[in-house]
């Protein structure tokens, strides 16, 4: 009987396992192998060139710019949308009426295709000839080497914070009401209730979202590509756009794979930190 249950268990996880192996593990292994080759991405021919791709990338100034931009992206996304998300979630927590309506409104940019969001910003807001920036006589941030990264990040954060709001609100609503009521009875104000009751209660959610944000930040691509294409003068290049240019403009898939591998390395670090923190929480 136990053997049969075990077999059923294996049978049930088999589809997910096969899918994971097929679309994650196998391509992952291929990416590792390709990063040591000069494969053009077109035909079957390639040569193993050792660490040459990594040497070329590390010697390229643009890689440094891309890496630094990814780090800036992480810092921005760990703070700005997280703070706004927490704030809006806290405000919505108190608002029983219209709460669902506001959640839908906040979530809307998240469910729209990035290309739609980018077009809305490009044509209505950032447009110097007829858009809001043009109306005020301002140059849009995407046009300057100093601000282009932030110009793309603002749009991405605008699309992302609604998702965090919904997640944080869901987590805050799981907080036991007796704890909240006890704190209020003891004379705690709104800030103290938030700081000492809600915040510890949603800590695992904050942690998970933080790690996911770090991983997503190193994979950033769509909004940068749609709004600046890494420019002007490669000032907003992130590793995603840097790899994409190797793969689809220069036909250097080997180098693109090497960049992809470096991107994954940072995601891996974030995952390890999350696992370590989770285990520490359990043991404590």
């Amino acid at each position: 009987m136990a053997r049969r249950r075990e077999l059923i268990g294996y049978g049930l996880i088999a589809p997910a396992l096969i899918l994971s192996i097929g679309i994650v593990v196998v391509p992952g292994i291929f990416t590792v192998v390709l990063s040591f080759t000069d494969w053009s991405g077109i035909g079957p021919s390639y040569n193993f060139i050792g660490l040459q791709n990594f040497r070329d990338i590390l010697a390229d100034n643009v890689f440094g710019t891309a890496l630094l931009n990814n780090i800036k992206w992480v810092v921005l996304f760990l703070t700005v949308p997280a703070i706004i998300g927490l704030l809006t979630a806290t405000l919505l927590l108190r608002r029983r009426k219209m709460r669902t309506f506001f959640q839908v409104i906040y979530l809307m940019p998240y469910v729209l295709a990035p290309v739609v969001n980018a077009l809305v910003w490009q044509t209505i807001i950032y447009n110097p000839n007829g858009g809001i920036f043009g109306f005020f006589g301002l140059q849009p941030p995407t046009a300057s080497v100093r601000t282009s990264l932030y110009g793309a990040a603002i749009v991405d954060m605008w699309h992302y914070f609604g998702f965090l709001t919904v997640v944080y609100l869901g987590a805050m609503r799981q907080t036991p009401m007796d704890q909240v009521e006890a704190a209020v009875v003891d004379g705690a104000g709104s800030w103290k209730v938030f700081r000492h009751v809600y915040l510890p209660s949603i800590r695992p959610t904050l942690l998970l979202m933080g790690v996911m944000t770090v991983i997503f930040s190193f994979l950033a691509f769509d909004y940068v590509y749609l709004l600046t294409q890494g420019g002007p003068a490669r000032s907003s290049e992130v590793m995603g756009t840097y790899a994409y240019a190797f793969a689809f403009s220069s036909f250097e898939f080997g180098k693109a794979a090497a960049v992809g591998l470096i991107m994954s390395f940072f995601g891996l670090i974030a995952s390890c930190v999350y696992t370590w923190l989770s285990r520490r929480d359990v043991t404590e």
Binding site: S40, G41, I42, G43, P44, S45, Q122, Y126, N127, P128, N129, Q139, P140, T142, A143, S144, V145, T228, Q229, G230, G231, P232, A233, R234, S235, A245, F248, S249, S250, F251, E252
Partner: protein
């Protein structure tokens, strides 16, 4: 009951899969015809309608063996790259030019079109430089659907308002732009928003009109390095031009060809600097309905280097046509290409779609007087370009003639324009990339300019 339901589900799945596979090339079409696939970029609806009428209906009615289907998609370049790599994709391959096809030809992804060239007489029909550029090791792998030049579109009304004539020299051009800026207009309109390779147009133009086609030819042959002083000077000239605001002013990063043409039609600038294919964007804003067709004019970009002949053209192709090595209907694909490289096809397409169909025929037998709207100045401009090509007065558009990684390096020319890199450092990087591609024989055969 359960068994019947299962049979119904399986049958539906089989039918669905059959439906999915019906788009594969080579499958039987209606009436015993074979289906030919051609993937094309996502042209505007009016232009798609022209293509459906002239190409699809025209070709399908011209013979009874094949049914041509065209898929329009803005991501066509990437889709074709991925499909060809997997030995899939359309029968007729739409590419970005000879450099693109050379990269795929050496990997065996494109079919040798030499036998079809002999059958249809393409070599005697197509402009020599354009035919030669599509060959790899003496075999033909691609032909351009259209040639293009990079020049200056002007709004006659704005020039009249400024009290100036159409410029004929570089000094006159910049003087008019200075006057326009002083009058609160954009010196010129153009930009790379949404498509960074637009930068290649302008660096190609400066390499052509300053360094000269022959110098660039020598660099592409590996006879001189890309750090040659003449090339460094051309890059520096392009940076000065950009920094003076002559290229879209402050808005280069936030304009594209479509919005630029719109601004030109509204009189916000005297000039739009860009490729002749931009006639297709102009037709949206300068047309018979708006009654402003006569306001738009086009001239080749004036030379900076006075030792070069004038006019002097930056030769490029809008796209290239090849046959997929994995196609089951290579004969049919060749028939489509032959149809698209005909005088009658060029005549029909140019009636409603100026800018994209300057078929590179030795005898481009189109009379501008037979056309109305923007097709008239477009046909006239192409006749001039073809004459310039026959005289050897041309340079090279990077996106067409430079190998892929070198062309991609030139896309980053804005690093020099925005002062983040010196011309010398930029070209040193270009030279390193180019030497690698030269070794891999990725440089397409090039026509040698006369000067």
């Amino acid at each position: 009951m359960k068994k019947k339901r299962l049979i119904a589900i399986v049958s539906a799945a089989v039918l669905a899969l059959a439906g999915c596979s019906s788009g594969d090339s080579g499958s039987g079409g209606s009436g015993g015809r074979q289906t030919l696939q051609f993937w094309f970029w996502g042209a505007p609806p009016d232009h798609q309608a022209t293509m459906k009428k002239v190409l699809i209906e025209g070709f399908n009615q011209s013979q009874d063996k094949y049914t041509l289907t065209v898929t329009f998609n803005n991501a066509v370049d990437k889709n074709i790259q991925v499909a060809l790599s997997a030995n899939k994709g359309p029968d007729v391959v739409y590419g970005s030019g000879p450099a693109f096809s050379a990269a795929y030809a050496v990997q065996g992804k494109l079919a040798d079109m030499t036998p079809y060239s002999e059958k249809y007489g393409w070599e005697s029909r197509i402009l020599d430089p354009m035919y030669k550029s599509g060959t790899v090791n003496g075999k033909l792998y691609s032909l351009p659907n259209s040639i293009e030049d990079i020049g200056v579109f002007y709004n006659k009304k704005v020039l009249d308002q400024l009290g100036v004539k159409v410029p004929t020299t570089f000094a006159e051009l910049t003087a008019v732009m200075d006057k326009a800026a002083a009058a609160g207009l954009h010196p010129s309109v153009t930009g790379n928003q949404g498509w960074k390779p637009v930068n290649q147009n302008y660096i190609s133009q400066f390499l052509t009109v300053d360094a000269g086609g022959k110098t660039v030819y020598d660099a592409l042959q590996g006879k001189i390095p890309w750090t040659d002083p003449a090339i460094v000077k051309a890059v520096e000239e392009s940076a000065k031009f950009y920094q003076a605001g002559y290229l879209g002013g402050k808005d280069y990063q936030t304009l594209n060809f479509d919005t630029s043409m719109q601004l030109l039609s509204k009189g916000k600038s005297p000039f739009f600097i860009g490729p002749s294919l931009a006639f297709q964007f102009a037709s949206t804003y300068f047309n018979d309905k708006a009654g402003n067709v006569a306001d738009l004019g086009y001239i080749p970009f004036p030379t900076i280097n006075t030792s070069l002949p004038s006019p002097y053209y930056t030769l490029g192709t809008t796209a290239s046509l090849s046959i997929n090595a994995a196609s089951k209907n290579k004969d049919g694909a060749a028939e489509v290409i032959d149809y698209m490289l005909s005088d009658s096809f060029a005549k029909e397409m140019n009636k409603d779609w100026p800018g994209y169909w300057a078929v590179p025929l030795k005898n481009f037998n189109l009379d501008p007087n037979d056309y109305t709207g923007l097709s008239k100045p477009f046909v006239a401009s192409i006749k001039n370009t073809i004459k310039g090509v026959n005289d050897g007065h041309y340079g090279f558009f990077a996106g067409t003639f430079f190998p892929p990684a070198t062309a991609a390096e030139f896309t980053n020319i804005d690093s020099v324009w925005l002062g983040r890199e010196s011309a010398q450092d930029f070209l040193t990087k270009v030279n390193t990339t180019f030497q690698g591609e030269l070794e891999k024989k990725l440089v397409p055969p090039l026509p040698e300019p006369s000067s």
